[in-house]
Amino acid sequence: MVVISDILVQGVQMLLVLLLAPLLTGFVRKIKARLVRRKGASVFQPYRDLLRLLRKGVVLADNASWLFRVTPYVTFAAIWVAAALVPTFATGLLFNWTADLIAIVALLGSARFFLALAGMDVGTSFGGIGSSREVMIAALAEPAMLLIVFCMALVAGSTQLSTVANFMASSYVGLRVSLGMAVIALIMVALAENARIPVDNPATHLELTMVHEAMVLEYSGRHLAMIEFGAFLKLLLYISLIACVFLPWKIAVSGTGPLAYAIGAAAYVIKLAVAGFFLALFETATAKMRVFRVPQFLGAALMLGLLGTLLLFVSRSF
C-alpha cells in the first residue's frame, strides 16, 4: 500500500517535471521579451514548438549512423531520470535513494557524452566545433559541480539530495560564507551547463559563436524535439536543484500526506517563477562572452567551489 502511494507520488513528480519544463522555458523567454519591451511569444510557445517538430518528418544526413538516431532518446531519458531524482516538491521520494547528487551529475554527463558523439557523427565541421567546445566547457564545469557537491555534502554530511534538503530545511544550518560561495558557483555552472548567456546563446544561429546549437545542427523533426525537450528539462532540473538545496522552503517530507505535498508543489512553482525571472533578468543584463573567456568564467566557479570547501573546514574548526 505504502509502496503503491510512493510509486504514485514518484510518478506525479516525473510527470510534473515533464509538464513544467517547457512552461519554465517559455516563461523565461516571455520575461526576456518583456524586459526588452517586446511583446514576445506566449509562455506556451515551447509546447507548440515541440508539437510542430513532432509533426514534421526527419531529414537524416546520408552519413548518419544508428548512434545519431539513438542519441536523442538516450539523452532525453538520462535527463528525465536525473530530473526525477531531484526533490521538487517533496523529499525522500521512493527513487531518491537510487542515486545521489554525484550520480545525477554523472547522468547529465552521459547525456552530454552522447550528444557530443552525435555532433561528431555526421562529419561536418560544425558538429566538430560544437562537440569540441561542449566537452571543453564540460571538462571545466563538471569538476566545479563536483566541488559544489563536496561543499554541500560536507555541510549536510551526505550526498543524498533528500537528506541535504531536509538538513538545509532544518534550523541549525545557519548562514555560512562557504554555502554562499557554493550557490554562486552552482549558478555559474548552471548557466554554463544549460548553454545560457554569457557562456552560450540558446537563441543564436551565428555559427562561430554557437556551441550547443552547432552540436545539434543536423537534427530535425522528432529527434530535435527530443533534444529540445531534454534541454528544457535540464534547465528545470538545475533550478529545482538550487531551489531544493539552498531554499528548501516549505518542501514536503515524504509520507506527510497530500496537503503537505500540495503546499510543497505550490511553493515549488513559486520558486521556479522567481528563479526564472532572475535568470531572464541576468541574461538581458549581460552579453555573451568569447568562447575562450569561458574557461576563466568556469575556472572562477571551480575556485569558488574549492574555496567554499576549504572555508568549510575553517568555519568548522571553531
Binding site: G57, L117, M120, D121, T124, A139, P143, T159, A225, L306
Partner: protein, 671 residues
C-alpha cells in the same frame, strides 16, 4: 590439491606452453594451439582463484619449493589479496588468448610472439603468488623480460627498438629500487621471507625509505608520473592483445606489489605517507589524461589513459593509507575497496579498448586516428563494444567505471574525519583533481570515438575496412558484458572484496547484499547510496516510453539527404574535425601551461595560392626536463672518461704508480 598448488600447476602449464611454442614455432598450427591452450589454462586458473576468493577467506594456502635462494627456498602464498589479483590477471589472460585466437593469424612473425605470451602470463601469475623477496623480484623481472620480448616482436618498425630499450632500462631501474626496498626490509641478516618481514618491526625512517623506493619501483612499472615515459612507447609497440595485457593487467600487478609491501608488509603506515601517494596520484591522473587528449595515435592515447587510471587508483590507495594511519578502519576499507574495484574495472575496459584498437589495426592497418573515421558503418559490432568501453571508462552510469569513481568520491567526502589539517585540506583538492581527470577522460574518449569511428572515412583504408573475426568479437563482447554487469551489480563485487579489506586493513564495508533492491551504501543509505540496476532500468523504461509515444503519435517520416551544415557542405572528409582540432579548445586551456603548446599559423599573403598551414608545437616537459638532461650528462661524462682508452703505456704506468704511491701515503698517514 590445495588452491595454491592448482595455481602453480597452471603456471607450470603456461611455462610448458612457452617451451612448446619454441618447439613448433614455425608450424602453421602453432597459433591456434598455443592460444587455445593458454585460454584453457587461464580459464582453469581463473576459476581456481575465484573459488579461493569467494570461498573461505581464512583459508590461506602456502607452497614452498626447493628452488630460488638456497637456504630460503621459493615460497608461494595464496591469500585473498593474491586471489583477487589472480582473478584480474587470469581474466585478462583468458580474454587476450581468446582474442589472440583470431588476432594472432594476422601476426607476421608468430615465432616472436607465441613463446613469450604464455611466459608473460606465467610471470604475472608468479609475481602475485610469490611470498619471499627473491622469488618476488625474480618473477617480477621475468615478467618484465617476457613483456620486453613481446614489445620487441615487431622490432623492425620504426621506434619500437627505442621503445623496447627505454622500457627495459626503466624496468631495471624499478627492479633495483624494489631490490633496495627489500634489502632494507630483510635487514642485514637477510631474512627474505615475507612472513619474517611482516613479523619484524620497521623503524619509521626505514618505513619512509621503503615507501619512497616502492613508489619508484612499483610506480615506474605502473606508470606514475614522472616515471611513466616508457609506458606510452612500449604498450602500443606490442601486438594489441599484449598491449591489452600490459595496460590492463601488468600495471595492476605493479599496484599489487605496492599494496603488498606498503599495506601488508610494512605494517601501520605514517599519515604523511598518504600525502605523498595522494599527491602523486592526483598529478598522475590529470597529466596522464592531458597527454592522452593531445595524442592522435589511438593505441598511445589508450596507454596514456592507462596512466590516468593508475593515478586514480593510487590516489584512492593514498586515501586508504590516510584513513588507516588514523585508525579509521571502515573508511580505509571504503577507499581500499574503491581502489580494488577500479583495478578490476580498468582491467575490463582497458583490455576491451586495446582489443578494439587492435581490431581497427587489423581492419585498416592504421593507428593514426586522423586517417580513420566512419568505422561505425563498416565495423558495427566492434564499434558498438568500443562505445561501451568508452562510456565505461568515462565513468558514466550505469557502467562499472562510474561505480568505482563514485566510491572514490564517497571516500574523499569523508575527509573531515581526518585529524591532520594537511590532509583535511589536501583530500578535497585531490578530489578536485580527480574530478577534472574524470571530466577530461570523457572529453578524451568522445574525441577517440568520434574521430576514429564516427564521421566520414579519412582514408581509403578506413573506407574499405571490414568487420574482424569472431574470436576477437567474442572476447570483446564478453568484456563489455562484464563492464555492464559490474556496473549494475556493484554490491556483489564489493562484498567479494570484503575479505581482502578485512585481511589487509582489519576492517570492511557494510555488507551490501543486505541493502534493498541491490543498491549500495558505503556508510549508510542516508549519507549516500547508488543503485546501478535501477538507474539502468529507469533509463531503459523512460527511453522506451519516449520511443513508444513518439512512434505512436509523432510523424514517422524519415528522409535521407546530404548533411545540412548551415548550407555549405564540406567538399572533402579532410574538412571534418580531426583529433588535433578537436583537442584544440582544451589545448588552449591547459596546453600552454602543461605542454608549452603553441599554434603557428602560416598564412600566405593575399593572391598567393599556397595553402595556409597550421603547425602545432608541443613539448613533453617531463622528458625534456628530466630524462634528456640525464642522458646528456651520461654522454658527456662517458666522453670525458673515454679519453682513458687512448693513453700511452707510460701514462697508464703513471696511473699505476700514482695509485701505489697514494695507497702507501694513506697507509703511512693511517698507521
Amino acid at each position: 590439491m590445495s588452491a595454491v598448488d592448482l595455481q602453480m600447476a597452471c603456471v607450470g602449464g603456461l611455462l610448458g606452453l612457452a617451451v612448446l611454442a619454441i618447439v613448433l614455432s614455425r608450424s602453421k598450427a602453432a597459433t591456434a594451439v598455443i592460444y587455445g591452450a593458454t585460454l584453457a589454462v587461464s580459464a582453469i586458473a581463473l576459476i581456481g582463484s575465484m573459488r579461493s576468493l569467494l570461498g573461505d577467506p581464512a583459508n590461506v594456502t602456502v607452497l614452498a619449493l626447493p628452488v630460488g635462494l638456497p637456504w630460503i627456498g621459493a615460497h608461494f602464498r595464496l591469500d585473498a589479496l593474491a586471489s583477487f589479483f589472480l582473478i584480474v590477471v587470469n581474466l585478462g589472460g583468458a580474454a587476450a588468448s581468446l582474442y589472440g585466437l583470431g588476432y594472432g593469424h594476422h601476426e607476421a612473425t608468430p615465432h616472436r610472439v607465441l613463446p613469450f605470451f604464455p611466459a608473460f602470463l606465467a610471470g604475472m601469475n608468479l609475481v602475485v603468488l610469490a611470498d619471499d623477496a627473491f622469488s618476488y623480484l625474480l618473477c617480477w623481472e621475468f615478467m618484465s623480460l617476457a613483456s620486453w620480448a613481446l614489445v620487441m616482436a615487431h622490432h623492425r618498425e620504426a621506434g619500437n627498438a627505442k621503445a623496447g630499450y627505454i622500457y627495459l632500462v626503466m624496468a631495471s631501474f624499478g627492479t633495483l629500487a624494489l631490490l633496495l626496498a627489500f634489502g632494507l626490509l630483510a635487514g642485514p641478516a637477510g631474512d627474505y621471507g615475507f612472513a619474517g618481514i611482516r613479523a619484524a618491526p620497521h623503524t619509521p625512517h626505514a618505513a619512509a625509505l621503503v615507501l619512497i623506493l616502492m613508489l619508484l619501483g612499483a610506480g615506474s612499472k605502473a606508470g606514475l608520473v614522472p616515471l611513466h615515459v616508457w609506458l606510452p612507447l612500449a604498450h602500443p609497440a606490442a601486438p594489441s592483445h599484449v598491449s591489452a595485457l600490459m595496460s590492463g593487467v601488468m600495471t595492476k600487478v605493479a599496484i599489487y606489489g605496492f599494496i603488498r609491501v606498503v599495506f601488508d608488509l610494512l605494517g601501520q603506515p605514517a599519515w604523511w605517507a598518504s600525502v605523498v601517494v595522494l599527491f602523486l596520484g592526483g598529478i598522475t591522473a590529470v597529466m596522464g589524461i592531458l597527454y592522452a587528449m593531445m595524442e592522435k595515435d589511438l593505441k598511445r592515447l589508450l596507454a596514456y589513459s592507462t596512466i590516468e587510471n593508475v593515478g586514480i587508483i593510487f590516489a584512492s590507495l593514498g586515501l586508504a593509507l590516510a584513513f588507516q594511519a588514523n585508525g579509521l578502519k571502515l573508511l580505509a576499507a571504503l577507499a581500499f575497496t574503491a581502489a580494488l574495484f577500479h583495478v578490476l574495472n580498468h582491467s575490463f575496459f582497458k583490455s576491451l579498448l586495446f582489443f578494439g584498437a587492435g581490431a581497427v589495426l587489423t581492419a585498416t592497418g592504421e593507428r593514426d586516428m586522423d586517417k580513420l573515421g566512419g568505422l561505425i558503418h563498416r565495423m558495427p559490432l566492434t564499434s558498438f563494444v568500443f562505445l561501451v568501453a568508452c562510456v565505461a571508462i568515462s565513468a558514466l552510469p550505469p557502467f562499472n567505471g562510474f561505480v568505482s569513481e563514485w566510491l572514490i568520491f564517497q571516500a574523499v567526502l569523508q575527509s573531515p574525519e581526518l585529524p591532520q589539517w594537511a590532509l583535511k585540506i589536501m583530500v578535497p583538492a585531490v578530489g578536485a583533481l580527480l574530478a577534472l581527470a574524470v571530466a577530461l577522460a570523457a572529453a578524451c574518449f568522445v574525441k577517440a570515438y568520434g574521430v576514429a569511428f564516427l564521421g566520414r572515412p579519412r582514408s581509403v583504408a578506413a573506407e574499405t575496412a571490414g568487420e574482424v573475426d569472431r574470436y576477437s568479437l567474442a572476447a570483446m563482447f564478453i568484456l563489455s558484458a562484464l563492464c555492464l554487469l559490474a556496473g549494475i551489480l556493484p554490491g556483489l563485487v564489493i562484498d567479494a572484496l570484503a575479505p581482502i579489506t578485512t585481511e589487509i586493513l582489519g576492517g570492511r564495508m557494510p555488507i551490501q547484499a543486505n541493502e534493498a533492491w541491490l543498491s549500495i551504501a558505503p556508510i549508510a543509505e542516508s549519507r549516500s547510496s547508488y543503485n546501478g540496476l535501477l538507474v539502468m532500468v529507469f533509463i531503459t523504461i523512460s527511453a522506451s516510453l519516449a520511443v513508444y509515444f513518439i512512434h505512436r503519435f509523432a510523424s514517422r517520416a524519415l528522409r535521407r539527404g546530404p548533411a545540412w551544415g548551415c548550407g555549405f557542405s564540406d567538399p572533402t572528409p579532410a574538412a571534418q574535425y580531426s583529433g588535433g582540432s578537436f583537442a584544440q579548445p582544451i589545448r588552449r586551456v591547459f596546453g600552454t601551461l602543461v605542454f608549452h603548446a603553441r599554434d603557428h599559423v602560416e598564412m600566405p599573403p593575399p593572391g598567393d595560392i599556397r595553402p595556409a598551414r597550421l603547425r602545432i608545437e608541443l613539448h613533453d616537459l617531463i622528458w625534456e626536463g628530466m630524462y634528456a638532461p640525464i642522458a646528456g650528462a651520461i654522454g658527456i661524462s662517458s666522453d670525458r672518461l673515454n679519453r682513458l682508452q687512448f693513453l700511452t703505456i707510460r701514462q697508464y704506468l703513471s696511473l699505476v704508480f700514482a695509485t701505489l704511491v697514494s695507497l702507501l701515503l694513506v697507509l703511512a698517514i693511517w698507521s
